[in-house]
């Protein structure tokens, strides 16, 4: 028994126009990881590898202690996967799907499924083909959640949900974490959702992981400094500066390694520190991606 829900080391997967390379990732049980990246960054590819829907060219993948893809059957009993391109039977009702999933998975929790029906505002007699996009997304989530899987792999689970349904989903996801043996990895464009419920945050861009750490230290490291630079003063080169934007006598410094020493370095050089701003996860994300792209271009 391992206390890591996900363990990925040196994973690569090459396609003609896209490659995932050198992916390293760990997610302990009892935690939520938010996977954030622009379109085409490789989020879905990574999640599909975790689910063994595609196999990595190289590297080790362990899911709930099972080596993937070799032991995928054992792992999948305990993994719940939801993605936007999953299809249900259009002519089947939601109730038919619930009975179908319950017949396969012994862990199906019927009372919990009833609670979820109410929370998501769905009815068992609804035919899937008559559901709206958001309702289909909720139906898929219900079928997964009611199995009570130990690990949830969710590819953009909040996309297409209205604000009320999104809130209900976040409530359910946090409820999963009541049990310290369970874990969630979800990808999202909605950095607010990620910032709110994630313990771990991983940024991915162009097939590479550009940053991954616990959320609190992530947000704590990044700051924007507003400086006034008098004539004749040159700002020193300081380690951990991601972006430096000078306009007239004012400068904005973006850092991913904020510290008192960093502030002092500018003040000692003759600049006046006007403000130290915290950054939202979205601002951090954009700054991080831009910096990583600049670095790789040079």
């Amino acid at each position: 028994m391992t206390d890591l829900a996900i363990e990925v080391e040196g994973v690569a997967k090459a396609y003609r126009f896209f490659a995932l390379s050198d992916v390293k990732l760990t997610l302990p049980c009892g935690q939520i990881m938010g996977l954030v990246g622009p379109n085409g960054a490789g989020k879905s590819t990574l999640i599909r590898i975790l689910m063994s829907l595609i196999h990595q060219d190289q590297g080790q993948v362990r899911v709930l202690g099972h080596s993937m893809p070799e032991e995928q059957v054992a792992a999948k009993w305990q993994v719940g996967y939801v993605s936007d391109d999953m299809r249900l039977y259009g002519f089947g009702t939601l109730g038919w799907h619930m009975r179908f999933v319950a017949s396969i998975y012994p862990g199906w929790d019927a009372p919990y499924a009833q609670t979820l029906l109410k929370r998501f505002n769905l009815r068992t007699e609804q035919q899937i083909r008559h559901l709206s996009h958001g309702e289909r997304a909720k139906a898929t989530l219900l079928l997964m959640l009611a199995r009570r899987p130990r690990l949830l792999l969710l590819d953009e689970p909040t996309t297409g949900l209205d604000p009320v349904a999104r809130h209900e989903l976040l409530v359910e996801l946090m409820d999963v974490l009541r049990d310290e043996r369970r874990a969630i990895l979800f990808s999202s464009h909605n950095t607010q959702d990620v910032e709110q419920i994630s313990d771990q945050i991983t940024f991915i861009d162009r097939g590479r992981i550009i940053d991954s750490s616990d959320k609190e230290s992530f947000i704590e490291r990044w700051r924007r400094l507003k400086l006034e630079v008098p004539a004749g003063v040159t700002l020193p080169g300081v380690a951990g500066v991601v972006d430096l934007d000078v306009s007239g006598h004012l400068a904005t410094v973006t850092t991913n390694a904020h510290s008192d020493e960093l502030e002092r370095a500018y003040v000692n050089a003759g600049a006046t520190l006007h403000e130290v701003q915290r950054m939202t996860l979205e601002e951090i994300f954009v700054a991080n991606v831009m910096a990583s792209r600049r670095e790789r271009a040079s």
């Binding site: 409530v171 974490l177 009541r178 910032e195 709110q196 313990d199 616990d214 959320k215 006007h274």
Partner: protein
């Protein structure tokens, strides 16, 4: 259940600070008394839909300040301190004064001018009440 803590996304302060402030407020108004047990980190995280790590950070910070105590690394309790409410209010006041001092510096006000403005505000308050 413990929906007494609400996180605002319009609030620019980080979530752990919002949690700290609301717990202090609970204690300051006397809803939570010395020796009362706080919800577990995980339970509070589930109830507020905020990650475990954020709630853990808020609790660690409150522990460092002596507002709460954690026994055997398990349950947390409100610290035994008679004047916690007053102390917390004074700390809050200090924060506001620090912010005022910062703006004063930006406007190039002298300390005397700033104090005079504060005096005016205090007189205004008396007239209203």
């Amino acid at each position: 259940m413990h929906s007494f803590i609400t996180i605002s996304h319009a609030d620019r302060r980080p979530m752990y600070l919002q949690i700290i402030e609301q717990i202090r407020h609970r204690i300051a108004v006397g809803d939570w008394k010395a020796g009362d047990e706080l919800p577990s980190i995980r339970a509070l995280a589930v109830a507020t839909q905020v990650s475990v790590i954020t709630v853990k950070r808020a609790y660690l910070e409150l522990e460092r300040e002596g507002v709460i105590v954690t026994r055997q690394g398990k349950a947390s309790f409100v610290a035994e301190n008679v004047d916690l409410g007053g102390q917390l209010r004074r700390e809050e006041l200090d924060q506001h004064l620090a912010a005022a001092a910062q703006i004063g510096r930006e406007l190039a006000l002298t300390p005397e001018e700033l104090i005079e403005r504060l005096r005016m505000r205090m007189t205004e308050g008396r007239k209203k009440s």
